[in-house]
C-alpha cells in the first residue's frame, strides 16, 4: 500500500471509525486516541496491508480491541475523574443519543461491541463473529442480552398517576 493509498484509507475510514469507537467507549478523546493507535499500527504494517481484502475491517478489529482493552484499563481512572466532577468533552447530540451512549456504557464489553458492530456498522452476525473471534451462537446471545438490557434502560419512564390526596 502506497503512502497516497494509506492517506485515502485514512480519510475514508477514520471519521466513521472514531464515531463507532465513541459508541463503544462513550469518550470522544479516547475514541480519537484509539483510532490513531489503530492507524499507527496499520502504518507499521502498510507493506502488507495492501494484500488484506478489507482494510477497513482490519482497522475496525484493531480499533475495537484497543478500545475494549483501554476501557478496561482506565475504568478506575475514569471513575476517579468523574468523582472529581471534571467535565468530559461531550459532543453536542440529541438527548436520545446521549441516553443511548449512556446506556451502552452499562453493558458488558462483549455485548457493547456486538451491538455497535451490528447496529452502527450494520454487520451481519457471521461477520461480527469473525471480527470478534467468537462463535455465531455467542454473538446471538450477546445481542439478545444487550437488547433486553437496552430495552429497559431506554424505555420511557411510565407516567406517574396523580396522587389521591
Amino acid at each position: 500500500m502506497t503512502e497516497a493509498e494509506f492517506e485515502q484509507l485514512y480519510a475514508a475510514c477514520a471519521p466513521r471509525l472514531v464515531r463507532a469507537v465513541y459508541a463503544v467507549t462513550g469518550d470522544m478523546n479516547e475514541a480519537q486516541d484509539v483510532v490513531n493507535e489503530a492507524f499507527m499500527r496499520a502504518w507499521a504494517a502498510r507493506r502488507s496491508l495492501g494484500r488484506v481484502d478489507q482494510p477497513e475491517a482490519w482497522l475496525r478489529t484493531v480499533a475495537v480491541r484497543l478500545a475494549v482493552s483501554r476501557w478496561r484499563r482506565t475504568r478506575t481512572a475514569a471513575a476517579a475523574w468523574l468523582r472529581k466532577d471534571i467535565a468530559e468533552a461531550v459532543p453536542e447530540v440529541s438527548p436520545d443519543s446521549v441516553a443511548l451512549v449512556a446506556a451502552l456504557r452499562q453493558l458488558p464489553d462483549t455485548q457493547r461491541v456486538a451491538v455497535v458492530l451490528h447496529y452502527f456498522y450494520d454487520l451481519p452476525l457471521a461477520r461480527i463473529a469473525t471480527e470478534t473471534n467468537s462463535s455465531l451462537s455467542a454473538v446471538k446471545s450477546r445481542l439478545s442480552r444487550a437488547r433486553t438490557t437496552l430495552a429497559v434502560l431506554l424505555a420511557d419512564p411510565a407516567p406517574q398517576e396523580p396522587s389521591r390526596a
Partner: protein, 304 residues
C-alpha cells in the same frame, strides 16, 4: 426497545456525531506521525533496557565449531554439547545517522539480477519450515533493509519467499531468503561487513541478538531488530515517518556463501504484535545452516 428502534437510534447517533464534530482532519500527518514520534522516544528508552539485559546475561545457546566437520544436523541442534561462546553485543554506530532514510527518498528496491539457479538447492523449502508454509512469489524485494553486501561482489544469487496461510486464525509470517555466492575469497569480508552493520544501533535501529554460533565451518547470527523508517530532520531533531517495524533476521555464512533470511509478521487484531518465539528463530537458523551445508534440516516446530 425493538430492533428497528435500535437501528434508527444508532444511525441517528452516527449522523449527529458526524455533524457535531469533525472527527479528524483529512491529513494523517499531524496526528499519526506525532504519536509515532512519542512512541519512538519510548522505544528508544526500552531499547536501551533490552541491550542492558543482554549484557546482563541472556542465555547462550550455541557453541563454537568443533574441528573436523562431519557432524550431523542433530548434533547441530543439540548445541549444548559444544563449548559456549558469548553472544555479540550490539554497539552504537559510529555515525548516528547510519540508518536514516530521508523522507524524500523513494522506497528502496533491491533488484536481484537473475541467478543461475545453482543456489536453489541451498534455500529453505516450505517442508523445512513445518506445517502451514507455502512458497510465495518472490518478485523484487521492496523496501529491503540496507545491509546486503555490495552486489558488485556477487558471483551468483537466488531469492525465495515463503509464507504462512494468510487466512489462518493466527499470526501470519513471511520469509524472504536471499542466498549469495560471493566472488572467490570475499565471503569472510562480506560476513564481517553485513554483521557489523546489523549489530550497530541508532535511534532508528534497535537490535537484540537472539542466537549466534559456529558449526561445521558455518557461522550464524540471529537478531530481532527494528527496520528504519524514513525520517525528517528538523532543527537537529529526528522525526520518524512512522512507528518502528520489527523484523527477525538470520544470517549464515559458509565459505563464500552468504544467506540472509528475513522473517516479517503481518496481520490484524491481537496478532499484529505477535512475537516470533526465540526457540523457533534459533531452529530456523539451524535449518538454514543445514541447507547451506548440504544437510537435511531437522523438522521445525509448528509456528503458531
Amino acid at each position: 426497545m425493538p430492533d428497528p428502534d435500535l437501528t434508527t437510534a444508532f444511525h441517528r447517533l452516527d449522523e449527529e456525531l458526524a455533524r457535531a464534530r469533525a472527527a479528524h482532519p483529512a491529513a494523517i500527518s499531524p496526528l499519526v506521525r506525532a504519536r509515532a514520534r512519542r512512541q519512538r522516544r519510548l522505544a528508544a528508552t526500552g531499547g536501551g533496557l533490552a541491550v542492558a539485559s543482554i549484557v546482563a546475561g541472556v542465555s547462550v545457546t550455541t557453541g563454537a565449531a568443533p574441528q573436523g566437520g562431519g557432524t550431523s544436523q542433530s548434533e547441530l541442534s543439540a548445541g549444548a554439547s559444544t563449548p559456549q561462546t558469548p553472544l555479540p553485543v550490539p554497539t552504537a554506530c559510529a555515525d548516528p545517522t547510519s540508518y536514516d532514510i530521508p523522507a524524500t527518498e523513494p522506497d528502496r528496491v533491491l533488484q536481484l539480477s537473475a541467478g543461475t539457479g545453482a543456489l536453489s538447492a541451498l534455500q529453505l523449502t516450505p517442508a523445512d519450515l513445518g506445517a502451514g508454509w507455502a512458497e510465495a512469489p518472490t518478485g523484487t524485494l521492496i523496501g529491503a533493509l540496507p545491509g546486503f553486501p555490495n552486489s558488485g561482489s556477487y558471483a551468483d544469487v537466488d531469492a525465495r519467499s515463503l509464507r504462512t496461510d494468510q487466512n489462518a486464525a493466527s499470526a501470519s509470517w513471511t520469509i524472504h531468503q536471499t542466498t549469495v555466492q560471493m566472488k572467490p575469497g570475499q565471503g569472510s569480508a562480506s560476513w564481517q561487513e553485513v554483521t557489523d552493520r546489523l549489530l550497530c544501533t541508532t535511534p532508528e535501529h534497535a537490535v537484540r541478538v537472539l542466537d549466534a554460533g559456529e558449526h561445521a565451518g558455518a557461522r550464524w547470527l540471529v537478531v530481532r531488530h527494528t527496520l528504519p523508517t524514513k525520517v525528517t530532520r528538523d532543527r537537529g531533531n529526528t522525526l520518524p515517518d512512522g512507528p518502528a517495524v520489527t523484523q527477525w533476521r538470520v544470517i549464515v555464512n559458509q565459505g563464500d556463501l552468504l544467506t540472509i533470511v528475513d522473517v516479517d509478521r503481518w496481520g490484524g487484531g491481537e496478532f499484529i504484535n505477535s512475537e516470533l518465539p526465540t526457540p523457533w528463530a534459533q531452529a530456523l537458523a539451524r535449518a538454514t545452516v543445514a541447507r547451506l551445508t548440504g544437510q537435511a534440516p531437522n523438522p521445525m516446530p509448528t509456528l503458531q
